[in-house]
């Protein structure tokens, strides 16, 4: 039995706060990075990440072990993000932000190369579905089918969001190189 499975069992059976905190420490980095990419704001992403883990703690009994625990957490995180958008009608604001590149405070990350910083900036210009599918599939290694289950999105939409998003990213990231060559 892996340490993660043991912690999940302890958290479910005894409602053990310490075991759940260890699970939070294990997964918070990826969940928060995923939410930062979706929200394009650290503070908002942190709030939603806290809500995600609180919801996960409350609904821990409903985790049946089908699929990975991290996949289950990503599903809750995505639902919390959508719920937040519905509540605050921020979808319009976020949509408006697609065209305007936002300066992300990259110091929040563990360690980030210049290329990764450029990538994080470029990701702010994609829409939430493209960002979510690309992040889960390419950054965290989930299969298309798993992404489809996590995001509750048809398999075809997952694939089209990924390919459309990657074309956009390639365009955004190659623009500065072309400008350098021209000058």
């Amino acid at each position: 039995m892996t340490s993660e499975s043991a912690l999940i069992l302890r958290a479910v059976a005894r409602h053990d706060n310490d075991a759940f905190s260890a699970l939070v420490r294990m997964h918070q980095g990826k969940i928060r990075a995923f939410l930062v990419r979706l929200c394009k704001s650290y503070d908002l992403a942190d709030d939603i990440a806290q809500e995600t883990f609180l919801t996960a703690f409350r609904k821990l009994q409903s985790f049946k072990g089908k699929g990975s625990f991290s996949g289950w957490l990503f599903r809750i995180a995505h639902n919390c993000f959508l719920q937040h958008i519905r509540k605050t009608k921020r979808r319009i604001e976020i949509t408006e932000q697609f065209g305007t590149q936002q300066e992300l405070q990259t110091k929040q990350y563990d360690s980030l190369s210049t290329e990764q910083m450029d990538l994080e900036q470029a990701l702010t210009q994609l829409n939430p579905d493209e960002t979510a599918t690309i992040t889960l599939c390419h950054s965290y290694g989930y299969s298309h089918q798993e992404v489809s289950d996590i995001l509750d999105m048809p398999l075809g939409s997952v694939k089209s969001n990924i390919s459309r998003g990657k074309v956009k990213l390639k365009k955004i990231l190659t623009k500065p190189i072309e400008l350098e060559k021209a000058s």
């Binding site: 706060n17 905190s21 939070v24 918070q28 990826k30 609180l54 929040q108 990764q116």
Partner: protein, 120 residues
């Protein structure tokens, strides 16, 4: 550089998944879970007490009425009750018809239902 190698580079870059440093986040979540557990426990306790009170009221209304009357007399609640009603003249006529036990049962029911809603 051709398109395929551009995509290969992009895939490689995306595969270096970004992870955000903890910086006290786990501790904040732990505290919030602890707090929410305390609130849930208290709400559960209040719900239980309210249901117990309801059971007592409906199990023996006469005894409760006597108890409330004694309590009202000893604490001079009658004055507070009249004062509260005088603050809401429109309501006073209808509420004045209610006896102490009915009013108390209503309030306890309201508290029980509210705390159950909070729990849910």
């Amino acid at each position: 550089m051709n398109d395929n190698s551009d995509f290969d580079q992009l895939d490689a870059l995306l595969a270096q998944s970004a992870v955000i440093a903890d910086r006290g986040f786990s501790e904040r979540v732990k505290q919030r879970i602890g707090k929410s557990n305390t609130i849930r426990r208290n709400v559960f306790l209040i719900t239980g007490l309210c249901w117990l009170a309801l059971v007592l009221i409906f199990a023996s209304p006469q005894a409760i009425y006597t108890d409330f009357s004694t309590l009202a007399l000893s604490l001079d609640i009658g004055n507070i009750y009249s004062y509260a009603l005088s603050q809401f003249p429109s309501l006073s006529d209808s509420v004045r018809q209610l006896s102490y036990p009915t009013l108390a049962a209503g309030l306890v029911s309201l508290a029980a239902v509210t705390s159950m809603a909070v729990r849910a």
